[in-house]
């Protein structure tokens, strides 16, 4: 067991590496740097980092290729750095197994929050707390009894709504693409029925959120997917 998480930064731009270094050091993370895709793959295999921050635009290969390679052997959380407006890249990265993304330019605080969430999630999965009680804000889900309460009042969910919520909880803090949600909730044959997802997500929000137009936990990433966040 290592006491401080070790992070691999895969980024070819010197200036960005520079402030990432400063930030991560200040947060007392250990870190290594890789400037190319090949280096990233080699270092992942050699060092087994706890988390990878990956820029998609690398000089020698596409960052997506790094995800593909890493996922063959490891479930290390990957946070993708990508330019805004390239939703296709994000979805592809997420579908390939990336855990989250941050759009460039980004504030350091946002990146650190994502890193923390990803590390926590990894720890949760590894200790496997299935069956316990999940709580975000005033929403409480008893995963064993399948009981959902909002501000201590029980809310009735349809089986599909519950399955949807359950899936989101399983990936809490992480962006899940529409496709991933559809496959996990409805099954692989419904992977293109995004409409189902939106209808049920809207219903879920109305039941769980105070203001459906201003959700605090069930967030939408337009063009990409959904994310359940614990708190800001």
């Amino acid at each position: 067991m290592r006491n401080t998480p070790e992070i691999l930064i895969v980024e070819d731009d010197e200036q960005i590496r520079r402030f990432l270094r400063a930030t991560l050091a200040a947060e007392r993370y250990r870190f290594h740097e890789a400037l190319t895709a090949a280096e990233a793959i080699a270092q992942t295999a050699a060092r087994q980092p706890d988390l990878i921050v990956l820029d998609l635009g690398l000089p020698d290969a596409d960052g997506l290729e790094v995800i593909r390679q890493v996922r063959q052997t490891s479930q290390t959380p990957i946070i993708v750095l990508s330019a805004r407006g390239r939703e296709k890249d994000k979805i592809e990265a997420l579908d390939l197994g990336a855990d989250d993304f941050v759009s460039k330019p980004f504030a350091v605080g946002e990146l650190l929050a994502r890193i923390r969430a990803a590390l926590r999630r990894a720890a949760t999965i590894s200790t496997d707390q299935e069956g316990s009680i999940f709580q975000v804000g005033n929403i409480k889900v008893d995963l064993a009894k399948r009981v959902v309460t909002v501000a201590n009042e029980e809310v009735h969910l349809t089986p599909i709504e519950y399955r949807l919520l359950q899936t989101l909880i399983r990936h809490v803090g992480k962006v899940i693409t529409q496709r991933q949600l559809l496959v996990e909730v409805w099954g692989p044959q419904h992977s293109e029925q995004a409409q189902y997802l939106r209808v049920y997500m809207a219903q879920l929000r109305r039941k769980l959120e105070a203001d459906a137009a201003r959700p605090r936990h069930l967030l939408t990433e337009p063009g990409v997917g959904y994310r359940l966040v614990e708190l800001d």
């Binding site: 805004r84 409409q195 939106r198 137009a213 201003r214 959700p215 939408t220 337009p222 063009g223």
Partner: protein, 894 residues
Amino acid sequence: MMEQDRPNPDELLERATQHAQKEQRGHLKIFFGASPGVGKTFAMLEAAQIQKRAGIDVVVGLVETHRRAETEALLDGLPALARRPVAHRGVTVQEFDLDAALTRRPELLLVDELAHTNAPGSRHRQRWQDVLELIDAGINVYTTVNVQHLDSLNDVVAQVTGVTVRETIPDSVLDQADEISLIDLPVEELRQRLEAGKVYLPDQAQRAMTGFFRPGNLIALREMALRRTADRVDAQMRSYRREHSIHATWPVTERLIVCIGPSPFSAKLIRAAKRMAERLQAEWIVAFVETSQFSTMPPEVRSRVLSSLRLAEQLGAETVTLSGDRIADSLLRYARTRNVSKIIIGKHAGSRWSRLVRNSLLDDLIADSGDIEVCAISGEPGAPLATAQPIAPAAPVPWLAYTQAALAVGASILASLAFRDSLNPTNLLMFYLLAVVVVAMRSSQSVALFATIFSVAAFDFFCVPPYFTLAVDDWQYLVTFGVIVTVGAIISGLTGRTRNQAAYAVDREARTQALYRLTKEMAGETRAFDAARRATAISSEIFDAKVVVFLEDEPGKISFRRRTTDFLPVPQTEEGTAQWVFDHGQKAGRGMDTLPGATALYLPLKGAESVVGVMAVILPTITGTPEQQHLLDNFASQTALAIERARATATAREAQLQVATEQVRSGLLSAVSHDLRTPLASITGAATTLLSQRENLSAETQNELLESIAQEAERLSRLVNNLLEMTRLESGAVSVNRDWHPLEEIVGAALRRVATQLGDRRVVIDLPAHLPPVSVDDVLIEQLFLNLFENAAKYTPPGSLIQLRARPDRAGLLIELSDSGPGFAPGDEKLVWEKFYRGTSTGTRGAGLGLAICRSIVVAHGGTVEAANQPTGGALIRIWLPLGGNPPKVPPGA
């Protein structure tokens, strides 16, 4: 003085162009002789052999050796082009193959007998036209011609020798020659050669010796040839002196005007004038005055005028058609505008009597000419002149008119018989006079004449004693008869002329109308092809002809594919004819000297700058009337101008568009440079301050600087995002990825992203619970709300209220965003949607792209935007998005 020795710049320019043209053109050398048999062909071949020995690529295009052995010997070693067999009336004629020559492109080509007339079916009517095309194509040519074939000498030759030579060449061809070699042979030697059978076979020779080759003829021809060559040398001399600025005093260039009429004598007049102009070194103009009677003359007479004018042009004259009923007036008016010094007319060979009645043109001219000299050239003695008598067009005998005339006179007879006892004969005469006047006013001259004679006879018969005989007792009645005849003649003449003028006016009016219509209708056409199509429609209607206009398919290439009609009225094989017309800018085809075998007449559409296309016309008759020809020429040039104008407009529009694009680009540049530099300046300033003076700064100041760096970077980031978004939207790279989305989901996502910018502004979202999903691109619509909220945050003070409402509307989904800020400045409501427009209300900072992006997104979704101020103050933005049908049903429990 130096000044005077300097050549006139205009002249220099002209010489330069001539030189430039000569550079590309082939060199033309003419072996010029006084008569057949002087040895032109022989001399030409000798010269060719010398060239051949000098290594020049000499090819025989066509040489007539007349089987003279010594000539044939000279053909030795010279490659010859195969002749082109042309079947003509059952006989196969061997013609010169122009296309073969153009393809072979020798350095020097020999083409004998320049004045030869080609067999029908050839491209050009005469060989000199073939030669000119060769020269134009840059091929050097040696050719031969005799003096009697020269156009301007044609009639002189006819007078001297009594033989009219039909094959003539325009003098301009001789003038264009770079070199003329006179092949001179003393008359006696020539006759000896003839006798020796060196020119013709013996029996032919004998006939020739007493006919054309009489010593008298030969001497005259030799003199003409020598003189013509001397003229030419003289002209060269002058040209040389001019080029080398050797000034001599010669008078200011004179200008002659030659007035021609429909008479066949005109050709002679033109040739005489040409000689005179040459001698005087004068410019010359050939004018024809079109009177109202002209249109009533037979077509052959009218075409004669046209061919006279064409002859004049060939001889190098400028031609002009004037109009007016008084020839002298029109002519003098024009002559004065052109500073003409001399007017040349033909001497009217009419009788003394006719000259007394009609004031002759000569008298009129002399009376009013002032300081312009008038020169009359006599017509051919005894040559019949075409009288300019109007004829009824295709007139059958107007029996009805005669019957009416007879009835009118009959009525006079009855009236005069009824009153014969009460009135004296002088008054009875008035009945007849009345009948004559009535008939003369209504009918043609011949009917009027008939009525007059009938009346005189009837009056004599019935009213003049002794009655019922034609005998006359009192000779005074002869005066009476005379008066009736005169009155009848005058009235019918007057009415006839009036009628003619009216008919002529109608005709001219129709032509003017047609042209006006063409010009007017084409004025509205902004595209070249539409203009061509319009011209096609109008001209086929007006000429009752099949018309088609061909335009360039690729630069310089006429194609039958690019035509204005659906079907092709001419055979595809004539594409070459059209191309020829386009290349040379000359008419060709049916009724022309060039390519007369074509189905249609091809007119070049010559604009002010270049030939823009070719018009093919199939008139109902082969040549059409001269008026039609004239009008067609006008049509062609009007069409060309319209096409040229349309093209110019298109070019101008493109240029304008480019300017507009340029303006947008420079607007972008200035906005970008300002908006990018300002935050960059803050960041750079703050960062460098921190770097260099950190120790001197308080922790508080350091924090402030760091905050400003972060804020400015944020601002820069937004700006770059907007710019990129705008570029993406404008470049069309963005496709609307529609799907069914709940509006609240998109609004929620956008709100989260602008939360920091909204600060403490209160945002009220008012979406009906039952609002159906909308078919939109979620990423784009999120951007739309993002920009709307950002914009509201930018233009409202902190703590303001921002409201978002949405409801279904007739036009689709209506989205309204209102705020409690200051609202739009008057006049800004429309402008805020424009790129790089920043509201004038407050001094905010931004690139002016936010709302422009909004509009682009909405428009991409097929919606509309509107900006206004609320009655209570504050801005109101309305957006309509089409609902896009019904959302798909989601199965319950799915």
